[in-house]
Symmetry: C2
Subunit: 403 residues, 2 copies
């Protein structure tokens, strides 16, 4: 199983290169190749849609967007055939990718993969459109962001593939963003849970959804570069030795904003009222902090995607008036820095060492959240790079011994 | 049933105009709208295909090309919805357009139109992708040139639509090309058989295939302009009064070449040998003329599409050597002018009046062919416009009384 993203198949020339790369791994292998739409095709189609309708219906959006991947599969199959290989393209509906009816963000229900198996049995390379499927009513659906990775992982699970190779424009998962930390190191292996935390805490290489699916069905994922031959990073089940490093990676996320509702009367049910108002606007909140109550009042702060911040503030101002809170404050200049590692389970004092490291750089911590294998702090955005470098150094992440 | 061609839906703005036009005819009607790919989309996709493969497999070509119409249906459905109408798009496979497996030139086997009926029953406008279908093996197929018209006519037949309106960039069927004959007149009605002859003799407004289908199932076709509100031309079964005009239209075709094989020994089976050699090169011959035999030798001439002429000459030179013919001559500067009309059945002397008219202008006739309702002459190309004008005048086509 191989998957190539949009930048890997951005034009005819790159499709030809991908065909050569696929051809090189074809001998002796049963090969399925999943592809995304070419380069900026999807953005172009979305633009067209908004030219004809201010808010296009999701059902028609899926009808429109599904064409992007269909173009790529046809072209890649042609390119493979012109290299003398046998290949056959399949749309999502054709491979039996059955989803629910939630257009533009459908969830996979089942995959028959019947036609893919038949093609493989006949010695053909199956070229499959990522991102798309069909509901039981035979409506074309799409899987939303990261959908092509998900197609690849789900097909790999259905076909019991040895490995699901995700070819992308980065060459693996790094201990931190190499643009910020010069001695960031490419990881040879990461555990599913680490990858999940890293994905949700800012690492962009894989979407959490695909990692969750891979974990659930035990699919080994190999994230690697389309443009370089070197091996990348294996995302796999936890293995012996993985816990020796306390911290596997340092991530950061600068796409969030912080919003606070001030002097909220502290009575039962008040949090439900506040967050109900936000949820009603379809805003998904990330971290939540509630201060200790003082004189019967409390402050509540939370982070959310920066794009949703205006809607959240409007919602909160209304609810503040209703419940008698003092008002609403917001800050878009925040960043979340996180340390992630399965080794945290067996090491204590990790969080306090993180706080001490940040304090040592004079960085104030505004909010904290923790999980079993991650600690995150919200800080002022201007300190984000400094914080990532300091944490990478303090936890000796760049020197990791065995992976 | 309405069908809009590629130039009618070339960009977002035109799709919005088409949506308004559809909306205007929506009240009180059960409406199905068939559309082609936007403008030059298909050419662009074909270009991409040739960038990745010198001779792309027809099966993958269909996978690729079918995306063109799918984009248009989604956008038109969105545009209709944003005008407050209920609309739903359907691909060829979704409407149950079942074809044989002849990729890039599939023939329609059956149409269930089940989902279109359901959409109409629910008060929705059905927006259907022209040109495409699916084989029994669930492979995506396309219908070849003029395929979207064919989709519209076939769906109109399946749904027993009152009329199949073909919206195009000309406003109807004319008695002759108005660029050549200033007093050419738009016909109110033409009979299926006339339209068939006119289509195969050079009129470009409809493909013969769609007209044949319309004739077979009695679908009334209305050819009209996307950009003007005036009624166009009804293509319909023969009606009383249609025979009153001797000639309904004068057509011309300048896309052919003439090829001759000279001094062929005149013995049984020789024609089969000659035309067998040409057919083996996939060249479809149009008119054929064999001179009277003289001293046991004869000349054979025929016309064919100009693009096929080099292949035909090569084939003929080989066969000429084999059978002992003198050689091969060819002429690309020929044109075919034709007169068409169901009135010819009941009027005699039509052909001789045509020959006299051409002779009167000093135009030499190189080849002649006739059918029950048409007469065609091959002449030197430079006389084509003169011939059309003279015939239009001689048969008083521009003054046609009743249609």
């Amino acid at each position: 199983m191989q998957k190539y993203g949009g930048s890997s198949v951005a034009d005819a020339e790159r499709i030809t290169s991908v065909a050569r790369r696929v051809a090189a791994s074809a001998p002796g292998n049963r090969l399925v190749v999943v592809v995304s739409a070419m380069g900026k095709t999807t953005d172009g189609l979305v633009g067209l849609a908004h030219q004809v309708a201010p808010s296009p219906a999701p059902r028609e959006m899926d009808m429109l967007l599904a064409t992007g991947e269909q173009v790529t599969i046809a072209l890649l199959a042609m390119a493979l055939q012109s290299l003398g290989l046998r290949a056959r393209s399949f749309t999502g509906p054709q491979v039996g990718m059955r989803t629910d009816r939630a257009h533009t963000k459908a969830r996979i229900r089942a995959i028959t993969a019947e036609r893919v198996r038949r093609a493989l049995d006949e010695g053909e390379i199956a070229v499959v459109a990522g991102f798309q499927g069909a509901s039981d009513e035979d409506e074309i659906t799409t899987l939303g962001r990261g959908g092509s990775d998900l197609t690849a992982v789900a097909l790999a699970a259905a076909l019991k593939a040895d490995v699901c190779e995700i070819y992308t424009d980065v060459d693996g998962v790094y201990t931190a963003d190499p643009n910020i930390v010069p001695d960031a190191r490419k990881l040879g292996r990461v555990a599913y849970d680490e990858m999940l935390e890293m994905a949700s805490l800012g690492a962009k290489v894989l979407q959490s959804r695909s990692v969750e699916f891979a974990k659930k069905y035990g699919v080994m994922v190999h994230v690697r570069s389309t443009f370089k031959p070197d091996p990348g990073t294996l995302v796999t089940k936890e293995e012996q030795g993985m816990e020796e490093a306390v911290v596997t990676g340092v991530t950061h996320d600068r796409s969030q904003a912080k919003v606070s509702i001030l002097r909220v009367p502290d009575r039962p049910g008040i949090a439900a009222q506040v967050f109900g108002a936000i949820a009603a606007r379809n805003v998904v909140v990330d971290m939540i902090v509630q201060n200790i109550s003082r004189d019967g009042y409390t402050d509540m702060s939370f982070t959310l995607p920066r794009g949703d911040h205006a809607r959240a503030v409007t919602a909160l101002e209304e609810i503040a008036a209703t419940i008698g809170a003092q008002g609403v404050a917001h800050d878009e200049r925040v960043a979340k820095v996180s340390i992630v590692g399965v080794g945290m389970r067996s090491h204590s004092g990790v969080a306090s060492r993180m706080f001490a490291t940040l304090a040592g750089e004079g960085i104030n911590i505004q909010m904290i959240s923790t999980s079993e294998i991650a600690v995150s702090c919200v800080i002022e955005d201007k300190y984000a790079e400094l914080a990532v470098r300091a944490l990478h150094e303090a936890f000796e992440v760049g020197r990791g011994a065995n992976r």
